[in-house]
Symmetry: C3
Subunit: 100 residues, 3 copies
Amino acid sequence: MWVVQTTLPGEWIEAEVGAWSSELVEKGFAACVQRDRITSVYSWDETTQSSEEWRLVIKTNADSKDLLIETILSNHPYRTPQIVAWEASSTPGYSDWVQG
Amino acid sequence: MWVVQTTLPGEWIEAEVGAWSSELVEKGFAACVQRDRITSVYSWDETTQSSEEWRLVIKTNADSKDLLIETILSNHPYRTPQIVAWEASSTPGYSDWVQG
Amino acid sequence: MWVVQTTLPGEWIEAEVGAWSSELVEKGFAACVQRDRITSVYSWDETTQSSEEWRLVIKTNADSKDLLIETILSNHPYRTPQIVAWEASSTPGYSDWVQG
């Protein structure tokens, strides 16, 4: 299975983030989407900036990972969304559930 | 070292999650258990559902990882707990501490 | 790209954590530093302890990873800071941005 992370703008209300997450689940690209709020510090336009954001941590299977990332990119409000992905192991029970 | 994640029901009060985490540490299967609260979106019974949960991120060593996961499974209130595990590197100082 | 995690004392005010994070970005060792608050359970001095902490999740590139960790160690208030690092993949757009 794979863990895929992205962020969404902190100005989005919870219902918008919920709807955006549900779409990934309903299309079958994500087994589970967890969200929480973070503060990000980064460099942009040669100055250090700080933003409130939603962090989304998504579990998916190897077959769906590329489609999931394509869907995130095409639905995302940022020009260069943060996408971070890594492979992980699990128990047989949870892996079966993520395989769908 | 390994990072192992699971979730617990959001209805649990903080003291219950603390006691559940302490048991993993006291049995020697976990070097450290970090918790925070998340909202999860997932598919269950063919509908998309959303729940508040506790997220537990556990650091352990390679020798204890399988026993840790067995202990989580046997103590867990869910029939199919979320278990996600991946290997990570560290500094010599912190690795020594996780080796215990 | 690499994901590197550490924690800072929960007693630090947000401005201190922000300044500490900005320094990593301004020195060019971190593309992005995300923070949130967690509760940690761990064993210390043979008792189980619990602390509020800041969790920092840092994205960096392979060339900067070792310098980033050295800088964290030399700036860190703990004698044995938690350092957890793993390699991750990304999209070409975000990878380019992390390469700097």
